[in-house]
């Protein structure tokens, strides 16, 4: 039997945080304490999946990846392959299997299980699983405070895995506890005692027992129990009921400082656990939603070689606080922004398609005659004017410095009135890039500031989301 497991992993948290006290104060109710992540107004499940995946892959080859599974309950499009968008922005090769896993908080673990099975069967050599979510709770509801936005990515492969897949156990259960209808903006729930007791807790206990029995493991054999939970109290109670030592055996559920990140959450916790693991550790992951997916992984010696530079705790430490509940509502798309029509161009499906290698894959052209690197792709070289003699180079991973910028007060959205239009020179060859700067405090922009690139939504129109790459201060990210 082939070894199969986790080859690389990555995470992503948006830069913005909302203090739960801010929400509590608005509604005159108790704060859950701590803060939650909030996707910027140019982010969505697809862009966050790209971020986590770039963080996962770093400089490793993309050519070996034969599949991309994208998991979310908040897809950008209801009909249209969201995974294709993510795969293209990641500059994966075109000959790959792409699939969306959706409609459930088990989408992430379902995608991971499918990826493990695909690689194990020999159907594909490497499959990238990217999970991202940004769900909405009703204003004033517990979920409004409890949810967070985030993403995780896991590369499933056969060789040099940092954790081997030991086995899985799943159960299916149909009940109305947490759900959303096709046109619902917010998550619906039934009475708390019913959904947490009859739904969540009972099924988690059943599944954890089931996988331990199946693999001949005892509770004490588990180094880390990764048990996503809707709230901290439910998590504590479950740990107690399962008999895990809360101090030593339990992975941080990330609820106090991130919030529940939906379909991404189990994978985000798994990535958090992997980043803190040692060879020989046994990780148990169990994830509930209309049943449970449970999996066990065993950490290998490889973990020591693959300590990533950009880790979950760095994302946790890099943050900007959202200044108001109003901005939260606006960033979540729950209140309309003034459209700024004069500066919105008509979207074009054909232009976006034709220029996809520049716009989506972030390819520039390197002249085969004189070597000049230009963005976007130029058929006639900017320097020597050679015609149609170039190779395409991915430049999304380059870093550089701001050459000039302006803070434009006319071009922005009503919730973000200042647009930081920026020109930067990227990489040693100083390829010139012009775009908006995001995830920054506009007044801190300056010439010479170190910047990298991030895949973002730039505006909406005709029901299309237009994506492009934006510059971002390196201290708040950077693709590396």
């Amino acid at each position: 039997m082939n070894t199969v497991g986790i080859g690389l992993c990555g995470s992503y948290l948006p830069i913005f945080r909302l203090d739960r006290g801010t929400v509590a104060e608005i509604w005159g109710r108790a704060s859950m304490g701590g803060e939650r992540t909030v996707a910027n107004n140019d982010e969505d499940s697809a862009t966050m999946a790209v971020e986590a995946s770039v963080n996962c892959l770093q400089d490793s080859g993309r050519q070996e990846i034969e599949g991309l599974f994208f998991a979310t309950t908040s897809p950008v499009y209801r009909e249209k392959l969201n995974a294709a968008l993510v795969a293209t922005a990641l500059d994966l090769k075109r000959e790959i299997t792409t699939a969306d896993f959706s409609h459930s908080l088990r989408a992430g673990t379902g995608a991971l299980k499918a990826a493990l099975d695909s690689v194990k069967s020999g159907s594909m050599k490497q499959v990238l699983v990217a999970a991202a979510d940004c769900r909405n709770g009703y204003p004033r509801s517990d979920q409004e405070q409890a949810f967070g936005d985030g993403a995780a990515a896991i590369l499933v492969s056969q060789d040099h895995v940092l954790a081997t897949f030991e086995g899985s156990y799943s159960i299916c259960n149909e009940m109305y506890d947490v759900w959303r209808n096709p046109d619902d903006t917010f998550v619906r729930t039934w009475e708390g005692r019913f959904i947490l007791g009859e739904g969540y807790a009972n099924h988690m206990v059943e599944a954890v027992s089931g996988i331990l029995n199946k693999l001949g493991l005892k509770t004490k054999d588990i180094t880390r129990a990764i048990l996503p939970a809707p709230d901290a109290r439910t998590h504590r109670r479950l740990i107690q009921r399962l008999g895990f030592d809360a101090k030593t055996q339990v992975q941080d559920p990330l609820l106090s400082n991130i919030g529940h990140t939906g379909a991404a959450h189990p994978l985000l916790m798994l990535v958090g656990a992997l980043e803190e693991s040692s060879p020989g550790d046994i990780l148990l992951l169990a994830n509930y939603a209309d049943g449970v997916d449970a999996m066990v992984f065993k950490v290998t010696e490889e973990i020591e070689k693959k300590r990533d530079e950009r880790r979950l705790k760095e994302y946790l430490s890099q943050k900007l606080m959202l200044t108001s509940y109003a901005r939260f509502l606006s960033y979540k798309g729950l209140v309309e922004t003034a459209p700024g029509e004069p500066f919105r161009l008509f979207p074009s499906a054909t232009v976006t398609w034709r220029d996809r290698n520049s716009i989506m894959r972030c390819h520039g052209s390197r002249c085969l005659n004189c070597g000049t690197l230009s963005f976007p792709i130029q058929r006639i070289c900017n320097n020597c004017h050679a015609k149609d003699s170039y190779e395409e180079i991915r430049i999304s991973g380059l870093e550089g410095a701001v050459f000039t910028f302006t803070l434009d007060n006319l071009a922005g959205r009503s919730d973000d009135p200042v647009v930081v239009q920026t020109i930067a020179d990227l990489g040693e060859e100083k390829v010139r890039f012009y775009s908006m700067m995001t995830d920054c405090i506009p007044s801190e922009a300056k010439i010479g500031m170190p910047v990298g690139l991030t895949f973002r939504r730039i505006y909406e129109g005709s029901g299309m989301h237009n994506y492009f790459w934006k510059l971002r201060p390196l201290h708040t990210g950077g693709n590396k």
């Binding site: 976007p376 803070l407 100083k430």
Partner: protein, 395 residues
């Protein structure tokens, strides 16, 4: 490149009142400018053999010159419209001059007209109609703010020094515009007011930006040989230059953002045709494209009015004021007229034409004995530059 120096003359010009012309449509503006020109030249509308028309915005795509045809009942002649961003007006004039110089026509109308205040927008987005992704949320002030920031950095100006230099340019232009009846704005301003104004696109504030307005202007041209049949004080075309550059220089490796090739090339071509060696010394008056204060500063250097990096010293010395060595934008420029895109080039030419004739509308605005003047517009994001040099005497 060949030369048509002194082959063509302007024998009449007209210019509407510029501003928020809620009272006037495109047709009204065209009529206001054209009938002043017909009277000035002493010609009848039916004498016009061809029309070169500049208008960037139109309610219907592909409408061509029919807006002018309808307004003026200018029928059965070619009306050739050009859209070259802010340089359209100058390009219409240059096209008209070339048509006359070729011998194809003897009497040609060049007209620029634009009605921006009907759009409902307070400003222009340069990105409209261009690449839907690369141009997203790009505005005119934003494009020029990028230039100012880089200029300050390159020449080691602090933000305070840079902004003060730009403020002095606007104080000068407002001072000039306060005397110009056809201008949109007539208020005098102080450096302090400019510095305290709200920021539009950092570091450019409200007074660093020209306004949106409506207007029309036109010129009637004929051959230099026939000009004397119409009037004794015709104005002659000495030289012209047009240069077009990339719409997206932002992406060009190494682009400096402190100088634009199209500005340098268009002015040098015009100087060469006009036989000008030292524009700083030889020109008596200039109307240049001051869509933003930084644009005017940049042009001083790209046009050779000031040595590179030292335009600030000339601004401080008052070199470009009405009393200075080379008065620039003595009608208040785009800053006081606003910038109805297609009309501006001909409006600026109108000022030079009147100055060269010694017929500025108020005596206190009249420069003493000017012989050679330059009019210029710089368009797009910004990459199209057109220069026309006019003289009061045939060489």
């Amino acid at each position: 490149m060949g030369s048509i120096k002194d082959e063509v003359a302007i024998i009449g010009m007209g210019c509407s009142k510029f501003g928020e012309r809620w009272d006037a449509g495109t047709e009204d503006l065209a009529i206001e400018a054209a009938y002043e020109a017909f009277e000035d030249a002493g010609v009848e509308k039916q004498d016009i053999e061809a029309c070169y028309h500049a208008q960037v915005m139109a309610s219907v795509i592909g409408v061509g010159g029919t807006t002018v045809a309808d307004a003026l009942k200018l029928r059965d002649i070619p009306i050739l419209r050009n859209e070259n961003w802010c340089a359209s007006g100058h390009i219409a004039l240059i096209e008209a001059c070339m048509a006359v110089a070729s011998g194809a026509f003897d009497l040609v109308l060049a007209i620029g007209v634009e009605k921006l205040k009907d759009t409902g927008y307070p400003g222009l987005g340069t990105g409209r109609g261009m690449h839907p992704v690369y141009e997203a949320r790009r505005t005119s002030p934003g494009s020029f703010g990028l230039i100012a920031q880089r200029y300050f950095e390159t020449y080691g100006l602090s933000i305070e020094q840079g902004k003060e230099t730009l403020a002095k340019i606007e104080v000068k232009n407002h001072d000039n515009g306060s005397l110009c009846p056809k201008a949109h704005f007539h208020n005098r301003i102080t450096v302090e007011q400019v510095l305290k104004a709200p920021i539009v696109a950092w570091p450019l504030g409200l007074f660093d930006c020209c306004g949106n307005s409506d207007g029309a202007a036109c010129a009637i041209v004929t051959t230099a040989a026939k000009a004397r049949d119409f009037r004794s004080d015709s104005v002659y075309l000495k030289g012209f230059g047009i240069a077009t550059d990339s719409m997206l220089p932002h992406f060009r490796p190494g682009f400096s953002w402190t100088s634009f090739d199209s500005l340098v090339k268009s002015s040098h071509k015009a100087y060469e045709m006009a036989g000008i060696k030292n524009p700083r010394e030889e020109l008596d008056v200039a109307e240049v494209h001051d869509c933003f204060s930084i644009t005017e500063l940049l042009i001083y250097e790209d046009f050779g009015f000031s040595p590179r990096g030292s335009a600030r010293e000339d601004v401080d010395a008052g070199f470009f004021t009405r009393e200075g060595g080379l008065p620039v934008n003595i009608d208040g420029g785009l800053k006081c007229f606003g910038h109805p895109i297609g009309a501006s080039g001909l409006r600026m030419t109108y000022e030079v034409y009147k100055q060269l004739q010694g017929k500025a509308d108020l005596p206190e605005r009249q420069i003493k004995n000017p012989r050679l003047g330059l009019a210029h517009t710089f368009g797009g994001p910004p990459q199209i530059s057109a220069v026309a040099i006019l003289g009061s005497e045939k060489g």
